[in-house]
Amino acid sequence: MATALEYNALALRAARLEIEEFNYAYADTLDRMDVGGWVDYFTDDALYRVIARDNYESDLPLGLIYCEGKAMMKDRAFALLNTEMFAPRYLHLSITNTRALSMDGGEIRAAANYTLIETRVEEPSNLQQAGKYRDVFVRDSGGELKLKQRICVYDSVMINNCLVFPV
């Protein structure tokens, strides 16, 4: 008969598979540049940060992107769609090594690797950013997973010109 440990392992397995599906949908939303839809993967009070690994490891809080709550995310989405000038590009966000680390009350702590490959007009595809997600998931009333926290810690601290879309 299965031990508590085994039950936990199975629960984390199930959570991992569900989070993979979440992450793949999330990536597809961003690859379509649907930043309006991107906002809906988060809870209202979510914290979304994109932070350079050198800052992160030095406990320096500066974010490349720093959104406290959905309202700030919405403002960023609006600006990207309505006010920003940038060159056309294709986005290719791949999420691998998804891990469900622990479940505690309603919260699931998770992590994953991501790589953003950007392709600009008449340029080769280029690795724009490689990093790790540090996530906290919760479930909404409908039982759907939502991100309460996504910290994107990026290794590519020497940014190639600029980062236009969130990761």
């Binding site: 320096l60 809080p61 609006f78 020497m158 940014i159 190639n160 980062l163």
Partner: protein
Amino acid sequence: MDGDGVFDHKQTNGSERTWPADETVIPDWIYTDEDVYTREIEKIFFGKHWNYVGMDCEVPGPGSYMRSYVGPVPVVVTRDADGEVHVFENRCAHRGVEFCREYRGTAHNFICPYHNWTYDLKGDLKAVPFRRGIKGKGGMPADFDMSAHGLRRFRVTVRGGVIFATASDETEPFEEYLGPEICAEFDSTFDGTEFKLLGVHRNILPNNWKLYQENLKDPYHATLLHTYLTTFGLFVSSNETNIPSDALGRHGGLLSRRPEGRPEVSEEEQANMQAFKQTMELNDPRVLAFFREFDSKWSGSVLTIFPTLTSLRQTNILNTRLLVPRGPNEFMMIWTVFGRADDDEEMTCHRLRQNNIFGPAGFLGIEDNEALKFLQDGLKKSVPGHGLALLGDDNEDIDIIITERAIRGMYRYYRNVMEF
């Protein structure tokens, strides 16, 4: 199109360049030529100029150090046991190893990894292993003088928490270097406040370093490129604005005063702004909240200190940017973002939220970096030509904003110091 050598500008020697007689004409070759770049290293970065290298708050305590640059040349900035700041070349005096590889840290001394020559925090050579050989055989010549083989040092000035270095003994004192108007504006932000480091951004821009200085001397593009500013009422041309520069034209300011409440976008202005839609409210207005903290009439103060510093005070955003040239077609930008040492947590969060607008993923940063990439693309790929800086008048008042006066001024100085 005259065929006389117009095509071979990538081969010819900068010394043979003739600058266009018309000062409103800026030749492409200052942005694209290897030999012009090489000359800039000599005449500008290692000439009689104060090069920004970092902030006091980046090397807070004794033994703190950080990597930085004078022009394209790697240097180390340190603070010694007495709290004094030193700047020296990041190149071992033995064979030339770039020995300091960490962004920043603390150390008692620097040991070159190759043969362990050891330097102190002033850059002086302190130890040469096996200097006397082994059992008295081999080693350095008896007359080897350690004091003559330290690291190349630069003269240092620290003002208001900002660190500058110069390779020349003849560079005038920093205050004279800035000149009275710019120095006054500099002091209004770097007013003795103790700053606290919030973090660093680093990015590579695929364009000539001078274009970035131009960009911040160019009020013309602000409302035209940066629709975000007008859409959310952050900046409009009708804001009170000053564009001072020093007597030599090398330094400049872009000072603007954000009105209480939302600015009016005049009919005339709207008519000229193609991208203008209608003004919006932010879902999270905290981002643009402004807490007065400096004794200055200006809510926005951008300074361009020749050659490679731009400092920004905008609402409650505070940062300095170092331009590190990497050849004519590329430079690295190091953004140092800070707050005040006495900020409480809420104020720190406010600055972090506000910085979300700036930086290499900020709404202005994206646009400037993209536009400058397009510009260098144009300069690199097209048949050599020139750009125009016709707007305004060199004797106009400093509150006139539809002008390229400051750009012309910088190049008047540049041409002179580069001996073109």
